[in-house]
Structures are given as C-alpha cells and as structure tokens.
C-alpha cells in the first residue's frame, strides 16, 4: 500500500481482485477462507498483502509495547505492593494492558513463596547398603581402609583417617553414578547436622572431626542417601 500501489505483480489473475479491506483482514488473520484461497492463487493480490504486512511489521517494530514498563519496573511494583506506594503512572498502564497484567502475574507467581521462609518438606531417604570388599588383581587389597556402599545405581566409597590431634578423624568419600550437581555431604549426630560440605566436581568430599555415632547423609536435589553403616568404620577407631 504505497505510492506505487496497483503496479505490483501485474493484474489479479482471478478477478474480481480483493479489495483493501479483504487484504487487510488477511494480513490480520481475520479473513474468510475464500480470501486466503484467493491469495494462494493470485500473486498480484499476495504482493499487496505482503506490502501491507511489511508496513504493519515496521510500525509494530517501532511501537509494540512502547509504553510498557520494563521488567525492573514491574518488579518494583511487586515490592511496592508490600512496602510502599505504587507508581500511579505504571499502575494505570498495567490496568489497561493485558500483556503487562500477564507479565505481572508471572512475576508474582515466581516470588509468591519467599525464599527461606519455610524449609522444604523432608526428602525421601535411601539407606546405602555396605558392599563386600572385592579383591583386586593379584588378590591384594588396593585400599584396605576404603569401604564401598551402594544405593540403587549410586556407589559410595568411604575411608576414615586420623588427622590433627590423636582423636581427630577425617572422613573422605566419593559418590559415583550420578551427574547431579549440588550434592551436599553432611555428618549428622543425634539428629542434628554438625558439619556439611558440597561435593566437588568429581563427586568427592572430605568431612573433618567425625564423632562417634555419626551418620553420613548425601543430599541430592530430590532425595537423600543415608550411610548408617558408617558405624562399622567408626568402631575400628573408637
């Protein structure tokens, strides 16, 4: 729809040619089936539709959501909702803008549950089972102090060693068989966490000052593995 209107790809191949309103409705996705069928066959009318589509696209490119507040401003609205006055200009815009109402609802859904307000529900517990030691080639024990445990497909190797003062015990371990990140190893005594450490890239961890009676917990995102049989290791030292 420009100054060269009507001189596009020749004349309509299947007259009568579509009028401007039909072409506009087609571009806006509100035309009848017959109009779309015409555009399929007629390159001249299709060319007019394309020109109109381009013009509308260029206008939208400049104007689409021009007056919408930024996501930062929406976030400020969420905060103001609880701790200050709302920005009247932004509030008025949101009242008349379904897109911003949708954005605001999305943001509100994300911040609906404040972080660290309540702890998540208890995790499903899997008790790791001790595995018999297997002799290596040559029938020698490669690491005599290392004990193996299994929890489903996951394998855990643990070893204890003395360090620091004569009573200090250090637990070294490795978890294999998962690509999960964000796994934490914790020592638990009398039901209370006494120390924790994140597993490194290789799934290894070290926990110092292991007390008698401690239990090891490996917390994954959706469940925890508990090594109660840590006692067998500890008994050799206490």
């Amino acid at each position: 729809m420009g100054d060269d209107e009507g001189s596009t790809d020749g004349a309509c191949c299947c007259p009568p040619e579509l009028d401007e309103l039909d072409v506009l409705a087609a571009v806006d996705g509100e035309a009848s089936v017959a109009v779309y069928a015409h555009l399929e066959q007629c390159s001249a009318c299709a060319s007019r539709a394309q020109q109109l589509r381009t013009l509308q696209g260029q206008l939208r490119q400049q104007l689409f959501r021009l007056f919408c507040p930024s996501s930062d401003e929406l976030a400020a609205c969420i905060q103001a909702d609880t701790s200050g006055p709302l920005n009247a200009h932004i509030t008025n815009h949101i009242l008349g803008c379904p897109s911003c109402q949708s954005d605001l609802a999305l943001l509100a859904s994300i911040v609906a549950r404040p972080p660290h307000s309540t702890p998540p529900p208890p995790l499903h517990r899997v008790i790791a089972q001790p595995q018999p030691r297997a002799p290596t080639k040559g029938h020698t024990w490669s690491q005599p102090d290392t004990r193996l445990y299994r929890a489903g497909t996951l394998r855990i190797s643990l070893s204890l060693e003395r360090y620091g003062n004569p009573l200090g015990l250090r637990l070294r371990g490795t978890l294999r068989g998962t690509r999960q990140r964000a796994i934490t190893a914790s020592l638990i005594s009398s039901g209370r966490v006494i120390s924790s450490t994140p597993l490194d890239f290789y799934g290894s961890f070290t926990l110092n000052d292991v007390p008698n009676g401690a239990v090891l917990s490996l917390r994954l995102p959706t469940y925890e593995i508990v090594v109660e049989a840590l006692q067998h290791l500890l008994h050799e030292y206490y």
Partner: protein, 247 residues
Amino acid sequence: MQYILPSQPASRRSAISTVEVGQLRQMSVATLVERCTTESERFYRGQPHDPGYSHELFRRALVERDEQAWEYIFRHYSPLVESWVRRSGAFSSTGETGEFFVVSAFTRFWRAVTPEKFGSFPTLASLLHYLQLCAGCVVIDSVRAQSWAEMLPEETLQNGRSPLTLPDEEAMERVHREEFWNYINTQLNDEAERVVVYNSFVMGMKPGDIYTGRPDLFDGIGEVYNVKRNVLGRLSRNQELRRMLAL
C-alpha cells in the same frame, strides 16, 4: 531495578545471627563456606540455623568483590534459582535452558547490588528475595522477546532491534521510538484513529479485539477496518514517515 527498602530494621541480621559481625568479618572465605553449607543443611532439615554466615558471604562477594565467595554463592544458590524459574508457568514455553536463566539472574543481581546498595539488604532473606525478583525479571524478558518474535515479521526482526540490548542502547532506542510515536500521533485525525493505531501497533491487537474493547467508539468491526485502512493508506504515502522507516 530500584530496590525498595524492606520494612525490617537494619539490625535484623545481627539480631538473628548468633555470631558477632566482627567475628564474621574476620573469618576466611573457606570457613564461611563451610559454615554456610552446614547452616543451609540445617535449614533444609528444619533445624535451627544461622543465616549470618551466608549474609557475610554475600557481602564478601558483592561489596569486596571476592571471586571465591561469589563462586560459592553462585554454585550454592543456582539450584534454588533454577527451581524458582522452573516452577513458573512460562519456563517450558521459552525454549531456554534452566542454566540460561540462572546465569542471567545472577548477572542481573550482580549488576544491581553494587557495594553502595548492599546496605539496603540487611538480611539473607532480603538478598534472596531480590535474587528471586531478578530471576522473575529474566523470565519476563525472555517471554517478551518471544512475543516480539511472534509479533514481528522475520525480515523486520533480522534488520531491526534485538530484544536483548545494553541498557544505554535500550534507552536511546526508547527515546527514538517515543519520537516516532509522537510523529505518528500528529498524523492522526481523531480519537477513533488514535485508538486503532495504538491498539494495533502498540498493543498488538487485531481489529476484532479492538472493536470488542471499544464498542462505544465503533459501530462494528467493519468500521475498525475502515479506519485502519484509511490510516495505513495515509501513513504509507507520507514521505517523512517513509524516511523514518527507511522504506
């Protein structure tokens, strides 16, 4: 993002931490990481916990710009940030990975919480709440970028604005677009034309929806189409507008 001060007093952090601020400041990052991990585990198990160590780690990362502290915070809180993003209804439709949102949220958080602004976050809860808002903002930006892609023809997207630009460029572009709107406004004759252009191109509405929203202004959907046709015809013949659009 302008942070509005939470209602809690500034001394709240020390009030809920069993450790004196002076002691926390003297701890090594390694010790803080160890204590922070332990306290988090206590929280996750519903046991009494002390958020002071985590708050101090945030302070080291954001005020002292300690890379080791930042690395720990990123690693430790990434799963939490990802869980916020994933539980939003928009995540699956964005086509982005959880990692993309996590990195974007932390980047936004890092840029926003400057050393000067850190004092506005007296508790771990206030820091995490702000991180949560940052995560929400990156989700919204992604959803908006997607709606741009759906709204604009491919050729205009290739030559036109990218939805993710630097803040300065974004501000300049907004000024330019507002000038463009002001010019368009001078070319419109009455309220009906203004409503049609605003709703069609600013709001992205179809004529049918425009009529539904303003039955008081139009006799029927046909009138909306007539107004739109007339305006588009006029705008397409406008030499100044063609220059502005680089037609």
